[in-house]
């Protein structure tokens, strides 16, 4: 299993944990994050989400984020899988696993990764809700925006 993936298949957290942690016995901590499809967004009753990606660039951006995280927390190993296509309420849209000898680095690398995903990975949510649909638009993706990167690092260390 690749550390980085953009896939239409359901995500498997346990498999990713085993894959990321199996190569080392030096780790003392694994932090994980699972993003879910929520029933409410900005006052709308969500029916389901459709995720679209520019896949080759999304994979590159995810790998870049892992490389960035390891510049700051060099003893971590990180895996991140993002799902695309139609997702029902309660399904996982993203899973992130970060391992480290120490919990502080595992938590920080995990948090940094999700914050950066929301900043620079070319994936979009098409929200279908009761009464309509809307493309959600968040950040203008710019991997060279140092202020955004610093903001993600600050949140990760908060």
């Amino acid at each position: 299993m690749a550390a980085v993936a953009v896939t239409a298949s359901p995500l498997d957290l346990q498999a990713l944990i085993e894959d990321i942690s199996r190569t080392s016995t030096a780790d003392g901590a694994i932090a994980s994050f699972v993003g879910l499809v929520r029933e409410e967004n900005q006052g709308r009753r969500v029916s389901y989400l459709e995720y679209e990606a520019y896949e080759p660039l999304a994979v590159r951006a995810l790998q870049l984020i892992i490389d960035e995280a390891r510049e700051t927390w060099s003893d971590t190993r990180i895996g991140v899988h993002h799902r695309i296509g139609r997702l029902e309420l309660g399904e996982a849209s993203i899973i992130i696993v970060a391992t480290s000898p120490h919990r502080a680095h595992a938590f920080a690398a995990c948090r940094y990764t999700i914050e950066r995903v929301k900043q620079i990975v070319p994936i979009w949510k098409h929200e279908h809700f009761e009464g309509g649909d809307v493309w959600l638009e968040g950040a203008t993706a710019n991997p060279d925006d140092e202020a955004a990167r610093e903001a993600a690092r600050r949140i990760a260390c908060a």
Binding site: Y54, L57, K118, I120, P122, W124, W135
Partner: protein, 81 residues
Amino acid sequence: MRVTVRLFARLRDLAGSGELVRDVANPATVETVWRSLVDEMPDLRAYERTMSVAVNADYAKMSAKVHEGDEVAFLPPVSGG
């Protein structure tokens, strides 16, 4: 010269297609490709200030040179996670 244009999310909806093939004069930049697209589909202009661009699946600037056969992508603000 011929380039492939990729559009995503609402930009794709506005254009009615996620993949277009267009001829542009050589030499060209990403900006040249964008201008010709906006001439054709003025609704796209709303994204000019907020979109990102990529050439051959790598983030690029509007001033980046474009070559025959390149894939030029225009990306609305992202909302993954």
